[in-house]
Symmetry: C2
Subunit: 453 residues, 2 copies
Amino acid sequence: MTDPLETLKTSIKALAEVKKYATLRDILSTMNAADIASLFEDDMPEEIVPLLYRLLPKELAADTFVEMEPDTQQMLITGFSDNELKEVVDELYVDDAVDLVEEMPANVVKRILMQADAQKRQMINTILKYPEDSAGSIMTTEFVDLRPHMTAEDAILHIRRSGITKETINNCYICSKDRKLIGVVTIRGLIMAESSQTMDELMEENVIAVTTMEDQETVAQQFSKYGFLAMPVVDGEDRLVGIVTVDDVLDVLEEEVTEDIEKMAAIVPADKPYLRMTSFELWKSRIPWLLLLMVSATFTGIIITGFEESLAKYVVLTAYIPMLMDTGGNSGSQASVTVIRGISLNEIEFKDIFRVIFKEMRVALLCGVTLAVCNLAKLLLFDRLAIMVAATICLTLVVTIFCAKIVGCSLPLIAYRLGFDPAVMASPFITTIVDAISLLVYFQFATRLLGLG
Amino acid sequence: MTDPLETLKTSIKALAEVKKYATLRDILSTMNAADIASLFEDDMPEEIVPLLYRLLPKELAADTFVEMEPDTQQMLITGFSDNELKEVVDELYVDDAVDLVEEMPANVVKRILMQADAQKRQMINTILKYPEDSAGSIMTTEFVDLRPHMTAEDAILHIRRSGITKETINNCYICSKDRKLIGVVTIRGLIMAESSQTMDELMEENVIAVTTMEDQETVAQQFSKYGFLAMPVVDGEDRLVGIVTVDDVLDVLEEEVTEDIEKMAAIVPADKPYLRMTSFELWKSRIPWLLLLMVSATFTGIIITGFEESLAKYVVLTAYIPMLMDTGGNSGSQASVTVIRGISLNEIEFKDIFRVIFKEMRVALLCGVTLAVCNLAKLLLFDRLAIMVAATICLTLVVTIFCAKIVGCSLPLIAYRLGFDPAVMASPFITTIVDAISLLVYFQFATRLLGLG
């Protein structure tokens, strides 16, 4: 388990303490930006970070800056001279500059925009106008665009002249005179082509593009589905305005999955790493659902209260309430989480609802009978319950699991159909509903089989 | 909500019914492989799929084949002549061919390998030797490798000659004579370079590579962290044996997230889309945890039984058991799921355990007090409980939430430290533990405050 990166970090720390800056500069300049950022943020005392940062070569410094958390970025900017700030801003790709501007307080934003050149400032402002989580907000406006009459040779010359400031040259887009997107050619296609072939002949005309207002999650799904490295973003008139690259999509996917998982665990997504959230922020993201679910649990209380007298006569029944509720809750969560994930992977659609319900009914019977048989043996042999009491518990188990699986699989699909996020219909919500169902079923069977009520 | 793809699918269905094959061929040849695959699998009657498939141009046919589910692939192969099969196999990239071979039954595999040329067959066999979920198993052996003395011009010529069969040319790797990986150059770097510059001068020597035996999840994390398009895979002697490309990583990420989510919902991961699993397979993936958790719930039963007589005297207490257990369970799940996700994003490590626990303690107090105050008001004003009974319930709430958050945040970290998958320590497991805790706390307070026991 000796991670070479950890070993390196230890040496760097030691070198920083004895101020061997020349050596540090040599080591740092061989490292990757993401690693330097995590080194600076997790392992170095905050006061020497600006000093170490200044040891980095210009381009690496900008790359490292992009990888840092907003609070470190702000700390560095505060210490920068205007010249130093300009150097960083000049090296940033537009989409990274936008991310930065979005995270910084107003006075810092003002300083950043003042240091950006007019063209970049305009690009930043364009992207800032798009709503959060839209394709427009994650795109970059630095892409290679070619004209249909250009030859492969022209195109490569054009890329050599302009490509250095473009985020990617792997996909080049061909636009008509009025800036409408009409085709795409990969750098591979350009290199393999005869130098006299024109874009008209080489380009793939059937370009899959997204519009600026498309949800970033949908964009990410298209990347997964088609295996793209970049996708063009067009405005309402089909004019090419930007591209989204796969590295940004990896971030989006991570973010969206975290959001889904949080929603499934009854947490209001917060968009901030856990260790950087204050206790108060964590409280704010957790208390709404806890409160709502606590209030919903009132129903289970009411059901039990309605049955209080009978329970007093047959107190043994109380001992099995938690087992019944938990097993029901777990069964329902399994179904709901499976369906939620299926929806977000586009494997399940609303039109499949009856197929899904029918499948879950069969699974529920299989699970219910297995658990009931195991439980019956336990109740009779170990707990030495009367046969009718054991039967009440086991029948409740089967019916509860049956209902739980149906509720669990159908609610996410219905939520999805109604335009809500299915992820909210996960474990905690399902559990609360299934609790009430299991108690109602339990007391029904108790009334019939044990003559209570 | 009119999806153009859906409209297209409807026209294609209509055209297929009236057998307009020439028109269909024209339409299909403009479509994307992933869309054609989903059209064939979800919208077309199975018997006409082979017919439509034969309308596709050769390369598109192979790409479409790769996008299909194993059962459709097998159905097509069964109908193929040896020649048709050879055409498909010839067009497949090695990593896709490996995926295919892994999914097919033995007799089909034999036919596939017989149609592959000797070189491809050898490559397939090499990759098949690596363990499932290792970097070796997801890599491709078709990459561009250059020598240090080559000039940029040589390199581009080399790519033009050999690049057509390589999966990606975006990253080219420089190897020494003994095949050791010594550097990487991007296609962008080659195009921007002077034609006489050598690889020695152009290459980035600090290459981040993975070994063949590395876990695919770790590989995927490196892609997310560094924003790579491709990564080299080396053997134990640092010899370059393959590359992993970002499109495969997107699939790995999706698969790994699904696995994590399933584990968190007490499901044994199954690696197959939901709608394609039989009820029996679903049962197999769900029953182990349901059984285990049901048995664990025995403890809560024992606790209640131990307190049976007192509960009989104070039956009102029973009505609040579900609310206390659910709120405790939800609080614990919030903490555990947050920590599990933090671990898998590398945001939280074991060394942070005390920081995490301390943070959760503060959040627990904030949440506990908020919920207790709301609940107290409800118990006194609506349920009209005696003050001491209400106090018992509310104090239990605070202490339960406190314990739930600590258990919820520390168990995943401990599991991680011990080398288990933290995802297993999610909601269902935590709920079972917290149930027992909440009951013990409840009855303790009841004994002290209400003089029961």
